[in-house]
Amino acid sequence: MLRLDSLSVDIAARDGRDVRVVDGISFELGESETLGVVGESGSGKTMLALAIIGLLPAIARPSGRILLDEENLLAASEPRMCEVRGARIGMIFQEPMTALNPAQRVGVQIAEGLILHRGLGRAAAREESIRLLDRVRIADARRRIDAFPHELSGGQRQRVGIAIALALDPRLLIADEPTTALDVTVQKEILDILDELVTDMKMSLIFISHDIGVIARIADRMLVMWNGRSMEQGGTADVLRAPQSSYTQSLLAAMPRRSRGGLAAGIETRAPQ
């Protein structure tokens, strides 16, 4: 469904030189599959997400190919990308407030995409919005739909963010650190919701996080990034139980014992050569 072919992103720095923030990333993602992207800050994982959805800043230049159902997104025109965004690829962010308009009721924000892209009438869009809020397990959806973002808790806001991303029934959902700012108990629920959605809606999910524990919980396959490069990829269980790359090993060694659970560790933490 999604295939990345040697994707690289170069940023033009102020002094004229280029900085390569994503370096030759390739992977394939099938329907109803989750890919977890793990990396520390500066690893390029957010740039990767922005490249796929076509929201890179003006100073960033991508190269390589991003094939969504055999269509190369990097070669697509901006109007075509506008069609793709929302309808075929949805995105949720770490801070849900970046996606939510504080001055609009949440129901209106969910309905916006439905009305614009799917041509639904106001009443039909409202019903659909309520259904979506139910899907993301917001209690009392019929009342909550008229709430403003600041009236909701962090976890509820993130769920609204997911509802907005789901409204157009995208094939691919990209989640960039969606649970990092949330409490651990709320995080658990959000992960459960995403897990269900992937299975029930036959959606694919790219889940970006620095938290290996979360990736272990949600991802079928994982990609470990460092400095823009792919250090290791494969099935989650394979990578975590038998890591090939020394960087992955050092990440695992750096985890607190409790989070590492029963996995073997004992390798010194060091940066890759």
Partner: protein, 272 residues
Amino acid sequence: MTSAPLLEVRHVTRDYALSGAGPFARKTFRAVDDVSFTLEPGSVLGIVGESGSGKSTLARIVMALDAPTSGEVLFEGDALQTLAPAALRRRRRDFQMVFQDPYGSLDPRQSIGRIVAEPLHLAGTLSRRDRAARVAEALESVGLKASDSARYPHEFSGGQRQRIAIARALITEPKLLVADEAVSALDLSIQSQILKLLMALKDRHGLTILFISHNLGVIEEIADRVGVMHAGRLIELGPAAEVLHRPQQKYTRELLDAEPTLDIIGRKQRRR
């Protein structure tokens, strides 16, 4: 070696007045609710809580940056709330704090030397040379170079800034260090480095540490005793092994279950 506790928190409660509440709504918000505990010298107490649990408010009250609505905080027997300002200032030498955000805790307009030297105001007047020597010593003890004192915060990474913050906190050789989510904003590999640094410094200086975090894994690495905060109350307190492996309270169990570990790999729907 005295057997008296270093820090005693007795029935501390902190209420905040809610502005703009309607005539029938609650007028106050209770951020900390009747919290009591003691801290023995040389030990590490980990306080675990989610957002809104009151743990940061508690930290500020312990640091005498905020006054409790009722209750008291005794540091080496002195009730911090009733001390005269000058006496409190003298006491501040003995307890310091490291904050969560390495990017907000250092003044971007000041050099590292000046930042780290700031608490020395509490140590009485020192000559320029003495001050510089203490700064150099502090920087080196956290793994940085004495020459770094001329540089500015933006030249350093998150992990290095946190080291600078630790150097600043320890320059007056305090007895108590409060770490409020001190490693939460750092990358994993840096996190473990900073934790090791804290443990080493604790051993070297005989520090007592109050470590606040939402991350149970981190708490387990570092704490002798663990307290769990929820909605302002300290619902559980005991040795780390007890609280983290044989919790008494339902909420503690929920917390422990919710934190993802590598014991469970893969989506529920497709677990192997």
